[in-house]
Amino acid sequence: MKGHVWRPLFVVIGLVAAILVFRMFYVPADFGVHDQGYTFGFHRLGNEQEWKQFPEKYKGTEYCNECHDDKVESISKSGHGIIPCEDCHGAAFNHPEDPEKLTVDRSRALCLRCHSELYMPSSQRNDLPGINPKTHNEGMECSECHNPHNPSLEEM
């Protein structure tokens, strides 16, 4: 056959080879159809592992109990016993190494998340003791009068 037939054919074969080689390197070996089938399970399997290794920040109240057992004890006997420490003090991360201290948020906004009085008759919100932030000692921090770790009104 003549050169004008072979030459383009070689070019084409070369192109195919190049694309296949590129694909071999570019597409990871674990990319393909996995457990959930072609429509929903077409992915890179290694990504599941990557998500599993995402760092945790919240540790839970049991962790705080290792060192702040006094706080855990007093709060657990109070009406605030159901609130995890980290809701008010933020995530533990690697506390006490990093950060050495967790934030102590004395803002009214923190308490008002639950105690601002709203009328929510089909919700448990209505069962929480509510105050009107505009009339209940405006301008003062709640913890000046209430103990957040033991909010009982009798023991104020």
Binding site: G32, D35, K52, P84, D87, C114, S116, Y119, S122
Partner: protein, 257 residues
């Protein structure tokens, strides 16, 4: 046909064909059943118990490194106020990141509206998150295989593979996906896959003081979530889309979508 034209056409055809090779060689006519039928994550939301404190939203943002002040969040809480005249008002300021501290309902362009207590017939909160659908519409539309369902039924996004085209964000009927402003890919709730796969709880459920949120294994008949789904009157969102969501709600109203 001119030689130049022939070359051009063949190159286009071959490159097109070899790209889709990956699809052809792997097509499996029957959707493979999950290999591990003993684990299927599901979520239970009790709307009666939710007080709208937004601690879940705060915890989710911190745990999953979602920028605090960006107007995006993987989970949020909606407030519904239904008046005695049947008017439905709903809002979710900042996704309830800071809770609901005011009676004023955010009506967007119409400003803030105060509904007097005596006009309120029903009022409640509804936490929202990804439904981790059994037939996720968002996964189906992904052109590059960057979002997928794991064998235990969690829908994830591959941040290295996502090209940020936004199809999945449009495809989700629940609006739970968004564009992550830092990572620059699509983003969504992972059911805290990093926590639940190690036997932990999701950050949102752990942060909820009232037990309004709960994750569990729908395949385990002794699991509290599975039990509730089987024995209590639970609802799902937007059933009509046929996506088979795995987030169940106790106390769902027809006004909630």
């Amino acid at each position: 046909m001119k030689r130049r034209e022939f070359l051009k056409k063949t190159a286009v055809f071959i490159s097109g064909a070899s790209v889709s090779l990956s699809a052809l060689e792997l097509v499996d006519p029957k959707e493979v059943l999950a290999k591990n039928p003993d684990l299927r994550w599901g979520f239970l939301v009790n709307t009666y118990k939710c007080v709208g404190c937004g601690m879940c939203v705060k915890a989710c943002k911190i745990e999953n490194e979602i920028p605090w002040d960006a107007n995006v969040t993987r989970t949020w809480v909606e407030r519904y106020v239904i008046t005695k005249e049947g008017k439905v008002l709903a809002d979710s300021p900042k996704g309830a990141r800071d809770g609901f501290t005011s009676k004023l309902i955010d009506r967007a362009a119409e400003g803030k509206e105060l509904v007097p207590d005596k006009e309120i017939a029903q009022a409640f909160f509804v936490p929202k998150l990804c439904n981790h659908c059994t037939l996720p519409a968002c996964v189906q539309v992904c052109p590059v295989g960057a979002t997928y369902s794991t064998k235990d039924g969690v829908v994830l996004v591959d941040r290295k593979w996502c090209i940020g085209c936004g199809y999945c964000i449009m495809g989700c009927p629940y609006g739970v996906r968004f564009f992550h402003p830092v990572v620059h890919t699509a983003d969504k709730c992972t059911f805290c896959y990093h926590r639940i796969s190690k036997g932990g709880n999701t950050a949102c459920a752990q942060a909820c003081p009232f037990g309004a949120r709960r994750i569990g294994n729908l395949r385990d008949p002794n699991d509290p979530v599975a039990k509730a789904v089987l024995t209590e009157r639970v609802g799902i969102l937007r059933d009509e889309y046929g996506t088979k969501p795995n987030v169940y709600y106790i106390g769902l109203n027809k006004e909630v979508h």
